[in-house]
């Protein structure tokens, strides 16, 4: 039984469960555990109106609750049903940066990420999460179509 951890950069798109399915499949085959990371895009350097400032704390609570209910909980349930031990984390910030940070902290050996969005022109100009990870990840990264 391996004690490896695989990180899954999980967007939570119900139309695209491939990355989670594949990660579960690989983790089961190798007896690894999964660490699902869901990142809510946020920057401490963005500009807000005074009303947004007042409401931010409350909105953050709502966003976290929603992310947990709609994204993380069903995904963790799926892992459990498949017999794969899994943990989940919801983080605020820049996706690539946080995935790398969590990978380092957990000592993960592989990153799984969905390919959605990396084909478009915008992705080629502005970058996308899978392309960004492919360039800077310190561990093997699997881009799941």
């Amino acid at each position: 039984m391996s004690s490896e951890t695989f990180v899954v950069a999980y967007e939570g798109d119900p139309d695209d469960p491939n990355v989670l399915d594949y990660a579960i499949h690989r983790a089961k085959a190798e007896g690894a555990r999964l660490l699902l990371i869901h990142v809510l895009e946020w920057s401490p350097y963005s500009f807000l109106t005074p009303q947004e400032l007042e409401e931010r704390h409350g909105r953050r609570k709502q966003e976290l609750a929603r992310a947990n209910e709609v994204v993380m909980a069903p995904a963790l349930a799926k892992c459990e049903a498949a017999g794969v031990p899994a943990d989940g984390k919801i983080r605020y910030g820049q996706v690539v940066e946080l995935i790398l940070e969590e990978t380092k902290t957990a000592g993960a050996t592989v990153i799984f990420v969905g390919r959605s969005g990396s084909n478009s022109m915008a992705a080629r100009v502005f970058g996308s999460v899978p392309l960004g990870l492919a360039q800077v990840a310190p561990v093997p990264t699997v881009i799941v179509p």
């Binding site: 401490p44 963005s46 005074p50 400032l53 704390h57 409350g58």
Partner: protein, 513 residues
């Protein structure tokens, strides 16, 4: 039968008749509102007995000096720490997604950086001469301590509601904070009084002045037309944002304004560089005028008064408004927001206002008597003679235009955006004060928002003189109440400061980056 050729002629007559009538709408608004606000303005700006010095300016200056000394020149000693806080070095990663120090600072700045930095400075320099710049910078530096005090209290005595919203500011720290010090009744009274003046301030400086000078710059570009037309258009857009909830306009404005600010300062630097051979002379004018008045009526006292007035109006140190924005930040240490907020008067006054003043001085739009070297004084208008006989934002525009002929067009866009962002921020501050007095509720909110939009029209229609007088008076009235309370509450801030500094030194305050 109706002659088709006569139609354009008839339309022309009708329009010119309407325009003539429209002029009198502006004049009517000007005389009515000017008369109504006159007594209030006279009281606030009445001189100290035996002098010509407005007592309210003395009040602000003494407060800033006392806070500077009481907190041992915190604005200079803690400046590097303020920068570290804003860049997130002490921000807990677990707090990601909450209001960051940078966001609180940026929001407060978008409320303070407005037409005061562009037009108000032009008024100050044309009345007080170049020496007003020196006193303005000094007031900005000392005002950092006032802002430090009030924003610390804003976080310390804020209300956090079950639904997650946060409300803070002078109404709360005056009522709750004074109660802690044993002056609950007085505190409540001060809080109500502050709320009244905050509403007036939001209608004056945060609204009328902005609309007025935005219209003035548009007129500068496209030609004269009645102010109430600009007012109605602006009011409609402001209405769409604050009543209609059309957040996209507010969000776009908030994002563009910082870039316009950087563009404005950058362009000012270019103008200074174009006139690099006069930079030394310009600074000489500033220092010379600061202590001798350089031939300006009122002498150096006039320069001092104008400098302090404009600094206070522009950076709102001691006024209490920024404490409302800063109170939403996520932090366990209220004093950290004090550190962050002291950067505001620096950015607003010492950087942006000074840039405006130097551009006006260096480009020579203030007329000089070639024989005496003194500035030509227009006694009737009560200010220095200017090229094109302009004042306010038109003077700033002329100054930039003399070096970069296309800049007045960019300035017009910048002015409109600055005006909007200030109006959006101040409509919020005024609303907070209004609901503090009359309670939360859809009817109360709507009534204030409609009132606010009406004043957009009034401000655009009036002349600069009565608008700036009322705007100044309302803002200073807020400072009158706020600073009175700050004197009682400053020991609380000192305790926070000492505790934080001790824990920072011992390493108990964690650094995350």
């Amino acid at each position: 039968m109706f002659d088709r050729k006569a139609f354009p002629l008839a339309a022309g007559f009708a329009l010119s008749g309407a325009a003539a009538q429209a002029q009198t709408i502006d004049e009517t608004i000007n005389s009515v509102v000017g008369a109504a606000t006159g007594p209030f303005v006279s009281f606030i700006f009445s001189p100290f007995p035996g002098t010509s010095f407005p007592w309210i300016v003395l009040w602000l200056v003494i407060a800033a000096t006392i806070f500077t000394i009481y907190f041992a020149f915190v604005q200079f000693r803690s400046f590097p720490h303020s920068i570290a806080l804003v860049s997130g070095k002490y921000s807990d990663p677990n707090d990601a997604g909450e209001v960051s120090h940078f966001q609180a600072l940026a929001t407060a700045l978008s409320g303070t950086v407005g037409l005061g930095n562009i037009a108000g400075v032009a008024v100050a320099v044309s009345i007080g001469g170049p020496g007003a710049t020196f006193w303005m910078i000094l007031a900005g530096l000392m005002g950092m301590a006032s802002k430090f005090t009030e924003c610390t209290l804003g976080v310390k005595f804020r209300n956090e509601y079950p639904d997650g919203t946060v409300s803070g500011g002078p109404m709360y720290y005056l009522s709750k904070g004074m109660a802690v010090r044993g002056f609950g009744g007085l505190g409540k009274g001060l809080a109500i009084l502050f709320a009244i003046f905050c509403v007036l301030g939001s209608l004056g400086g945060g609204n009328m002045f902005q609309a007025n000078q935005a219209h003035a710059q548009i007129v500068n570009i496209v030609g004269d037309y009645p102010g109430w037309i600009t007012g109605v258009i602006f009011a409609a857009i402001v209405f769409a944002v604050i009543v209609g909830g059309l957040k996209s306009i507010a969000q776009v404005t908030e994002k563009i304004v910082p870039f316009m600010g950087v563009l404005y300062v950058g362009t000012a630097l270019i103008v200074l560089l174009i006139n690099y051979d006069r930079i030394g002379w310009a600074f000489g004018e500033v220092f010379d005028g600061a202590f001798t008045g350089a031939g300006v009526a009122g002498g150096f006292v006039g320069a001092l008064i104008q400098g302090f007035k404009r600094a206070a109006f522009s950076n709102e140190a001691g006024v209490g408004s920024a404490a409302i924005a800063h109170s939403a930040v996520k932090t366990k240490e209220p004093i950290t927001e004090g550190f962050v907020s002291l950067l505001e008067p620096f950015i607003d006054t010492v950087v942006i206002c000074t840039m405006t003043a130097l551009v006006i001085i260096i480009t020579g739009v203030l007329q000089v008597d070639p024989e005496t070297g003194n500035y030509l004084w227009n006694a009737e208008l009560g200010r220095v003679e200017t090229v094109g006989d302009v004042s306010g934002v038109a003077l700033t525009s002329a100054a930039f235009g003399s070096a970069l002929s296309w800049f007045p067009y960019i300035l017009a866009i910048a002015v409109i955006l600055f005006a909007f962002s200030t109006m959006i921020s101040w409509s919020y501050y005024g609303l907070k004060a209004w609901t503090y007095m009359f309670g939360e509720g859809k009817a109360q909110e709507l009534s204030f928002k409609i009132l606010f939009c009406v004043f957009v029209v009034i401000g655009a229609a009036m002349n600069l003189g009565p608008v700036i007088d009322f705007s100044d008076a309302a803002i200073f009235a807020m400072a009158l109440v706020n600073i009175f309370g700050l004197y009682f509450l400053m020991p609380i801030v000192k305790a926070e400061l000492n505790s934080y500094n001790a824990r920072l030194k011992s390493g108990e305050i964690k650094r995350f980056a």
